[in-house]
Symmetry: C2
Subunit: 338 residues, 2 copies
């Protein structure tokens, strides 16, 4: 079982409009809702890959009730929340709800999709304030769950009320339980969390630059390792992934640039890395899976889903190239793995 | 008791953002919710004026539950949903919930207030589909409520599934029960509804032009009377109201142009007209009240509330001017009523 943590879960609402006109009244043509937050998205992709997962974090209020109901309906044999989307992936394994109830109300995020341009305007509520007692209840639950997990993923932003070192605390607890732990967050929670020595961090280019001060990806990725990340996999958008690990450094790139909605592409990459870790795949295969899943997510019509056919087509065509361990010396040519 | 009907109720959500940037991710700084839909807004203002009111229409799903909970909390002694707004009016009389439950989910409306410019971008969900059985249940309830009402107000758009002659049917039922009935809607439901001879219709300039084909307000208002409205009060924005009634025609204008958020100004005018009708005020006083309430709503910081002090200040200063009954001849000069 893989445990994913989403401290700031969300009810993700999508509005389709003919065209979004600012400072006017806009009629919404179509409304859809689904459980959201990065760790929940990761769990959904893990389930589609056949990995059982448990989601935890906080949930509360009417939007929290709606989130749990939709999550329960997403399981194998359940009715997907996005039933209108005919090619939505069917999950193959169970996503178990271990969310911790709180007095506050789970936030909504609203994606307004302009059907004329295809552009999306995103509105994100801040999320509920979590009390110290609720955080303590979560920690107790988390320790029990982490002890049973094959891997732990800590994903997304912190809701109000949670201390900035929260991810560092969760990394330490997972490590104390002997469980591999992945951290995917940004800003100060990432800075503190990486110092607690997670097994894997997956920053994007902006998060990596903010952490290290460098916009040179290989240099920044290696710097992030020195800050505590045992392995660092940077997502570089259309350019794919750059990994710095104890076993070597690699670049993994999709065979062609893909166009579409990048929402959830990073979460799919995390699911690819985690599943590869649990399956003990060599790094090049983990990275190829993560890149193919990520690109197949960009290509899917519904935000945050992935296109299974595109995934199967892309996977053998991802180019994984080993990087020199001594970039200053360029001692040998890159090797092609796939 | 005044009965207000809102067939397409809404949970009105307001998002405050530093600035709304289309096609980007926007963090919402503050979220507030309140029960909405035109008839519910009218009832809220009636309550503030000391008139007991009953709200009916349809309600369903989690957003419907939230709407009912907030409505119950708005009553005298209740906790207003907009507790953060310190100068929100306290209601003086009861708003009774007689909403009819449906299987569908009550729509949300989202007002995104850009704090930099003060402009509002509105997103309105379409509303639930109402089944024939639900409409039949509503009609039974409505007949019982209308028989006890001093006046009936039919307000706003029709949700999907409701036949376009629905307001005509409700006008006829109120008239059969001997109750005065006001209609405030637009388009084809207005065209059909006015033919059923409501006591009062309150179109705005656009609705009136759409109904009559004329942009000349006095001509269009009189045309609307010929189509079946016993009295017609057109709201002309900052220019105030224009009334054509069996007792004469009047213009009523605020003493100065007011700047602010016009959301709910029309609903406040309806509440002014209805309360004046039930109190058997002469037309000029009804119109003065409606104009003052409407302007005090534009001036209030929270959308759809009215500023009580501004109302008290504006009321004696509204200019009500009788219009010639024979506009073609201009037989005598307008008389000043206040």
């Amino acid at each position: 079982m893989i445990l994913t943590v989403t401290l700031n879960t969300a009810l993700d609402i999508t509005y389709r409009t003919a065209a979004l006109t600012p400072h006017a009244t806009n009629r919404v043509a179509e409304v859809s809702e689904r459980p959201g937050g990065k760790g929940i998205n990761v769990a959904r992709v893990l389930a589609a890959l056949g990995h059982e997962s448990v989601v935890t974090g906080f949930v509360g209020g009417r939007t929290g009730d709606a989130l749990r109901e939709l999550l329960a309906a997403e399981g194998p044999g359940g009715q997907p929340a996005h039933a209108a989307v005919t090619d939505a992936p069917v999950t193959d394994a169970l996503v178990t709800d271990a969310l911790v109830p709180i007095a506050g109300t789970t936030r909504r995020t609203i994606a307004v999709v302009d059907e004329t341009t295809g552009d999306t305007t995103q509105l994100n509520e801040p999320g509920p304030t979590v009390t110290p007692a609720e955080w303590a209840a979560f920690l107790t639950s988390y320790e029990g769950l982490a002890a049973r997990a094959d891997a732990v993923a800590l994903c997304g932003s912190l809701p109000p009320g949670i201390h900035v070192g929260a991810y560092a605390e969760l990394v330490r607890l997972a490590r104390a339980a002997g469980r591999p732990v992945l951290l995917d967050t940004s800003g100060e929670p990432l800075r503190r969390g990486i110092a607690a020595r997670p097994d894997l961090v997956k920053p994007n280019a902006d998060e990596l630059a903010q952490l290290t001060g460098s916009r040179e990806p290989l240099r920044a990725t290696r710097d992030a390792r020195r800050r505590g990340g045992r392995s660092v996999v940077a997502s570089l958008g259309a350019a794919g992934l750059l990994a710095a690990t104890p076993d070597g450094s690699w670049r993994a790139a999709p065979p062609t640039a893909v166009r579409g909605n990048p929402t959830g592409a990073g979460d799919s990459a995390v699911a690819g890395l985690l599943s590869g870790l649990v399956e003990r795949l060599p790094w090049p295969e983990r990275l190829a899976r993560a890149v193919a899943l990520s690109a197949a997510t960009v290509l899917a019509p519904a935000a945050g889903e992935f296109d299974r056919e595109a995934y199967a087509d892309l996977l053998p065509r991802v180019a994984v190239t080993e990087q020199s361990s001594q970039p200053e010396q360029e001692s040998h040519a890159p090797r092609q793995h796939r």
